[in-house]
């Protein structure tokens, strides 16, 4: 019997979903949808009576104070009776097989009442005014549902059962590669979503020919997952012949010779003081923290899934990186998250979007909600992040999620032992996420939504929380020898990696399934979320299972690590496939690539000012620009204070202004802190990829320094997101960025400890006229800096503190307006790209840190997006304080950006140039002399007093000509918060 329970709110005023539908319909231009009412429905199947269902509804599903319920057999007319004037009934429900966390919770709750339904599914129900079919359809798919994961039913639900599939019957499929030409191999790769090149398929064919056969489907799939761009640095690790502005370079392995090499050099220089613990070999990078703990950090992207299903894509992106930390060494506790999104501009007209593209505003709302619901449920504070808006990300947004973890000293090394059990723990395996690893390696297109539904996953955060509690307890008791997460490629990657040298035998029929019908291959490559694989000594198995049971987590031994160097896959005792580990991990043919980089010509600075332009008007425009404007609407949705360790938060000061770096305690009750800073100079990508990367790294470090991080303890992460790297020009920009990473890490003695690349960020579509288009994203490096402060009590925030204090700028400014916020708001075109002078930046970092350490700095803010004047305005907003600055006092390198030579041009250039590596410091008047001495100890640092904190409520800007402009701080705050 299939029952339906509908839960209605008693007070319609509390129906947020109804308000959202009405507002969304108006935005979509759907006339007549001025009222709505909504309900939550539950489909419940099983041998249950009406009384059972009513008991369930009253005790579990409905709130006795605020809600009422209706119970009926599915399909009963009472369930779709029109509400007054609202005849259209629209249902949105997860597709069969898609994770439905609420339904899983309801199913578990039934057990507490002694009820045993066989299946539960959740439904959202909407009663709407009479709408024509096209409008109802548009409303459903543009606003309420996602094609990748939902079914929409208008009118009565047709369901009479929720029953799933039947058990799979063993079979083997041989994939015939022998005799196929390259075109056929390419077609085979495309049709099976393998993302393998013809050359790679040749290697596979040759390997199996030496065995006298063709590969089985499960073997070919395992190879495709392992060789995917997602799972190995296929492009970055390639030999490359590069021709750049400084001549030709020949790399045998680009990544090893740039990023890895810089880390090696830094570690060599540090010698016995090397504080790196485990870099570039585990799921995250590990460094020393205090006497008892190491800390680790990882940032991942989840771009393609988020483009199709923003909520699920971002949530599982975060879930995945949390598992990376959990799966580091012998398990680390996740203690902080960060997120960075790159999307199209919020004001993009809907008509300008290619077909199949989700509007940037809806996309951003979706990814924010995904991070919110996953991160908040996990109980990990999301404390750092950024949003970048650029038309280049339409159709291919970037979604970065990062996690910091902490672990006991001496637990970073893990090694699988021969005879260990292969244990899978956590969520059950379903068809979700099949081909995620290979999907992320192919380009997105306007049809991706319909083609790749299976590769989009929905997360179940509480399962991951339970899994985390289980792993950390098992780790405390030292009950496993190694651990890794099931991410891209599922078990095939996780077990494959852990068994890379020893080999393993796996009984795939033992993998716990969400529902019947999965084949051995599907169980093997499914990317179902919330699973970890552990290597457990047989002697520890009983204790481990007990902890799993106590925490309500399913842990199943599915095989053994053998030491035979072969990966043997079985189904009910029969061999389903067998692979040589050496071939699987070392057999991928490497192809020498060619890359080329020719810098674009520098455009001369051209001012485009109007008669009524002024410093004040420009400042208000820049503060309101999407990249700079307040992200409070996002930050407040994230629980950034759970765990009780957040000390410098993303919004701070009496005026709740923006932070630079943010700080968490590493351990409750102890004072040593972890600092997070991010840097992203994507707008420079198309102009100068080297400076884009270098500038991002400097920005990330500067964010950490501003808050008081020790410059000698900064670890870096790289996340490369690039377009089509099969093009030599595109690959050329990637090489330039890698060179920058190397040079910066060495210059700042800040080692890269981990990283990730996401290539092939290309969106392809065909327009109404039948023309095919392809668009690559701008070359984008996200730099993350993880710093440390000895005592969080001595952290420094950017909010202005006290009238009478003086303001200094540290670091030289140059007229470098290309890609600046001033350019984005239309005041200027062209100009030079901001250049990183690494040696000078290093001196500035050291000088600022020394002044902070000496207790001479009351507030500190780095100058990044929007330059000096924006920085001062943000400090005033955060401190709810007034200030005066004099532009003539700013140390400014003479340059050619004078344009038509007007005084306003000169003032704007000083105020808004985005030269990297500069800070504004607030210094108490009584220690101003000491600050001057301290900051000048390193004679190379250009700095100057440029103003003071004053009483009142105005920001006063004195131009180079000596005239003063004032703007109320309240107006700055209003502009920054998006008000007029």
């Amino acid at each position: 019997m299939l029952w339906e329970v509908d839960i209605h709110l008693r007070d319609a005023a509390g129906d947020h979903a109804a308000r959202a539908v009405v507002a969304g319909a108006a935005e979509l231009g759907i006339a007549g949808c001025t009222r709505a009412t909504t309900a939550t429905g539950w489909l419940i199947e099983g041998d249950l009576s009406r009384a059972d269902i009513e008991r369930l509804a009253a005790a579990v599903l409905a709130d006795p104070v605020t809600e009422t319920f209706t119970v009926a057999e599915a399909g009963d007319a009472v369930l779709t009776t029109a509400a007054a004037g609202l005849p259209t009934v629209l249902h949105v429900l997860p597709r069969a097989g898609v994770t439905d966390p609420a339904a899983e919770t309801a199913l578990e709750a039934c057990g507490l009442l002694g009820l045993r339904p066989s299946a539960v599914r959740s439904v959202r129900k909407y009663w709407l005014p009479a709408l024509d079919a096209a409008d109802a359809d548009r409303l459903a798919w543009k606003l309420l549902a996602s094609e990748a994961i939902h079914d929409v039913v208008i009118g009565p639900l047709p369901h009479r059962t929720l029953a799933g599939g039947r058990p799979w019957t063993f079979s083997q499929e041989t994939v015939h590669l022998t005799g196929l030409d390259d075109a056929s191999l390419d077609r085979l790769s495309r049709e099976r979503c393998l993302a393998l090149s013809a050359a790679e398929l040749h290697a596979v064919r040759d390997h199996f020919q030496s065995l006298g056969r063709d590969p089985l489907e499960i073997e070919l799939e395992t190879i495709a997952q392992t060789w995917s761009e997602h799972c190995c640095h296929k492009t970055l690790g390639s030999p490359i012949d590069h021709v750049g502005p400084s001549g030709s370079v020949r790399y045998d392995n680009l990544l090893k010779e740039t990023v890895f090499a810089s880390t090696r050099k830094v570690r060599e220089q540090l010698g016995p003081n090397d504080w790196c613990v485990s870099v570039f070999r585990d799921n995250s990078g590990v460094v020393r923290f205090d006497g008892d703990h190491d800390i680790c950090v990882k940032v991942e992207t989840h771009n393609h899934p988020s483009a199709i299903e923003p909520y699920g894509g971002a949530a599982t992106g975060l879930g995945g990186v949390i598992r990376d930390v959990l799966g580091t060494g012998l398990g680390a506790k996740p203690i902080a998250n960060l997120d960075v999104f790159c999307v199209g501009r919020p004001d993009t007209p809907a008509a300008d979007l290619p077909p199949g593209v989700i509007h940037p505003r809806r996309l951003l709302a979706g990814v924010v909600a995904g991070v919110r619901d996953y991160g908040n449920r996990m109980g990990i504070p999301t404390i750092a992040g950024a949003v970048a808006y650029d038309p280049g990300y339409i159709g291919n947004p970037l979604v970065f999620c990062g996690t910091v973890g902490i672990m006991p000293r001496n637990s970073a090394d893990a090694a699988v032992q021969v005879g260990d059990l292969v244990v899978v723990a956590g969520g059950r395996t379903g068809r979700d996420g099949i081909h995620g690893a290979t999907f992320s390696s192919v380009e997105l297109s306007s049809d991706s939504e319909s083609q790749s539904g299976g590769s989009v996953q929905i997360g179940h955060a509480i399962h991951e929380k339970m899994l985390t509690d289980f792993v950390l307890e098992a780790s405390r008791q030292k009950l496993f020898n190694a651990i890794t997460d099931c991410g891209a490629g599922g078990l095939s990657s996780a077990v494959g990696e852990m068994a890379a040298t020893l080999g393993a035998e796996v009984d795939l029929d033992r993998v716990p399934l969400k529902y019947d019908g999965l084949s051995a291959t599907e169980a093997w490559i499914s990317e179902a979320q919330e699973r970890m694989v552990l290597a457990v000594a047989p002697a520890d198995w009983d204790k481990l299972s007990k902890i799993a049971a106590d925490e309500g987590v399913e842990a199943t031994a599915i095989g053994t690590f053998t030491g035979a160097g072969r990966l043997v896959l079985r189904w009910q005792g029969r061999t389903a496939g067998e692979l040589d580990c050496h071939f699987l991990h070392e057999g991928r043919p490497r192809r020498r690539l060619a890359s080329r980089y020719v810098p674009p010509a520098v455009q001369p600075t051209a001012w485009t000012l109007h008669a009524d332009d002024s410093l004040a008007a420009s400042l208000l425009d820049v503060l309101a620009a999407p990249d700079v404007a307040s992200k409070e609407w996002i930050v407040r949705q994230y629980d950034h204070e759970v765990q009780g360790c957040s000390i410098v938060k993303p919004l701070l000061g009496p005026g709740a202004g923006p932070a630079d770096g943010t700080v968490v305690r590493g351990v409750l009750g102890r004072d040593r802190g972890i600092v997070l800073g991010v840097g992203l100079r994507h707008r420079l990508g198309p102009l100068d990829p080297y400076q884009m990367a270098a500038g991002g790294i400097v920005e990330a470090i500067a964010n950490a320094i501003a808050v008081g991080a020790d410059p000698a303890r900064i670890a870096l992460l790289d996340n490369f997101c690039w377009g089509d790297c099969r093009r030599e020009e595109s690959l050329g920009t990637l090489v330039e960025a890698c060179r920058a990473c190397h040079d910066m890490a060495v210059a700042f003695a800040a080692p890269f400890v981990s990283g990730k690349d996401s290539l092939n960020n290309v969106f392809a579509w065909t327009d109404a006229a039948g023309t095919h288009h392809e668009r690559s994203i701008p070359p984008t490096l996200l730099a993350t800096a993880m710093g440390q402060v000895e005592n969080v009590h001595r952290a420094i925030t950017p909010d202005l503190k006290q009238a009478g204090n003086r303001l200094a700028i540290v670091g030289l400014s140059r007229g470098e307006l290309a890609g600046s916020q001033l350019a984005l708001v239309g005041r200027v075109h062209g100009g030079r790209v901001p250049q990183v002078d690494a040696a000078a930046c290093r001196e500035v970092f050291a000088a600022v840190a020394a002044a902070q350490r000496a207790g001479l700095v009351a507030a500190c803010h780095d100058c990044s997006d929007g330059g000096l004047l924006t920085a001062v305005a943000e400090m005033a907003i955060a401190g709810s304080a007034a200030a005066r600055i004099t532009l003539a006092d700013v140390p400014m390198e003479a340059d050619g950006s004078a344009g038509n030579g007007s005084a306003l041009d000169r003032d704007l250039a000083i105020a808004f140039t985005e030269t990297p590596g500069r800070f504004v410091c607030e210094v108490p008047a009584e220690v101003a002399d000491r600050f001057a001495v301290e900051i000048s100890k390193t004679n190379a640092v250009p700095w100057a007093w440029i103003g003071e904190v004053v009483a009142g409520d105005q920001l006063e800007i004195v131009s180079t000509a000596g005239s003063a402009t004032t703007v109320p701080v309240a107006s700055l705050a209003r502009a920054w918060r998006g008000g007029a």
């Binding site: 919770t105 507490l112 509480i462 407040r636 759970v642 765990q643 009351a858």
Partner: protein, 255 residues
């Protein structure tokens, strides 16, 4: 004298248990995190404790409603031992999700005859999860946890925190009985800091004895001055935060 013992009762999805245990320990208690499954298997575990705290989080995901399943679990498996704990004078504190649980188990504000809930915590008026700091005013009355407290700030972080009663009469009765002990107050500019549309600005309520308190704000997130978003340069970093007295009051009351 022996230190009082505080049980931090957790369920799948509880996520404020560590910092809540830490706050009790700082206040002088011995705090133990106990899984509800373990307590259900051995209810006598509770006999060793004087304080029971249900901390914040998303118990069982809060996918159906906040605290619903945790409360059902307590009602169906631990009703007697909770009643016993209360009747022998044990203190019970429910923070955020724990407050939601306490209302639904009937330990707070339930109809004395039917046991039915007379109050609930509904979705915020904004429809959104919200993390921000609020101004509060306590009228402690008998409430053990709030003794000596008046006006202070704490953070809130929830999506379902709008206090509502079954009827206006219920609200008036709770008010008259002095159970609506913690209210959102105006900030310095006179703006209300009610973050969720709660009736009567109610942020926390206690039972008739003053031994049971449920509140939406998080006192365990403000036991140190440096947890305040504007501490830097304004508060002594070594000072305690305004949430600390919740824990010291409780510890003192059972010592």
């Amino acid at each position: 004298m022996l230190s009082p013992r505080a049980m931090i009762l957790r369920a799948p999805g509880t996520n404020c248990d560590h910092e809540t245990a830490h706050a009790f320990e700082r206040a002088g208690a011995i705090a133990r995190r106990v899984h509800v499954h373990a307590l259900a298997q051995k209810p006598s575990l509770a006999d060793d404790f004087q304080i029971l705290c249900i901390p914040g989080g998303f118990s069982y995901g809060d996918d159906i409603a906040s605290g619903r399943i945790f409360a059902l679990e307590l009602k169906s498996r631990l009703a007697d031992s909770l009643a016993k704990f209360r009747d022998r004078g044990g203190l019970i504190l429910g923070i955020c999700n724990g407050f939601q649980v306490l209302l639904q188990t009937g330990l707070l504000l339930a109809d004395p005859t039917s046991g039915a809930a007379r109050a609930s915590l509904a979705h915020n008026t904004s429809g959104m999860f919200l993390d921000r700091w609020v101004h509060l005013r306590a009228v402690p009355g008998r409430c053990v946890f709030l003794q000596g407290m008046d006006r202070f700030e704490l953070p809130v972080a929830h999506g379902e925190g709008r206090f509502v009663t079954r009827s206006p009469e219920d609200f008036a009765a709770f008010d008259a009985a002095g159970q609506l002990v913690l209210r959102y107050a105006a900030d310095a500019s006179g703006t209300s800091s009610n973050p969720n549309g709660a009736m009567g600005d109610v942020a926390g309520v206690c039972d008739e004895t003053g031994h049971i308190l449920g509140l939406m704000p998080h006192p365990e997130r403000f036991i140190d001055a440096v947890q305040h978003p504007a501490w830097n340069g304004r508060l002594d970093p070594a000072a305690a935060g305004a949430g600390f007295p919740f824990f010291t009051n409780a510890v003192r009351a059972v010592s």
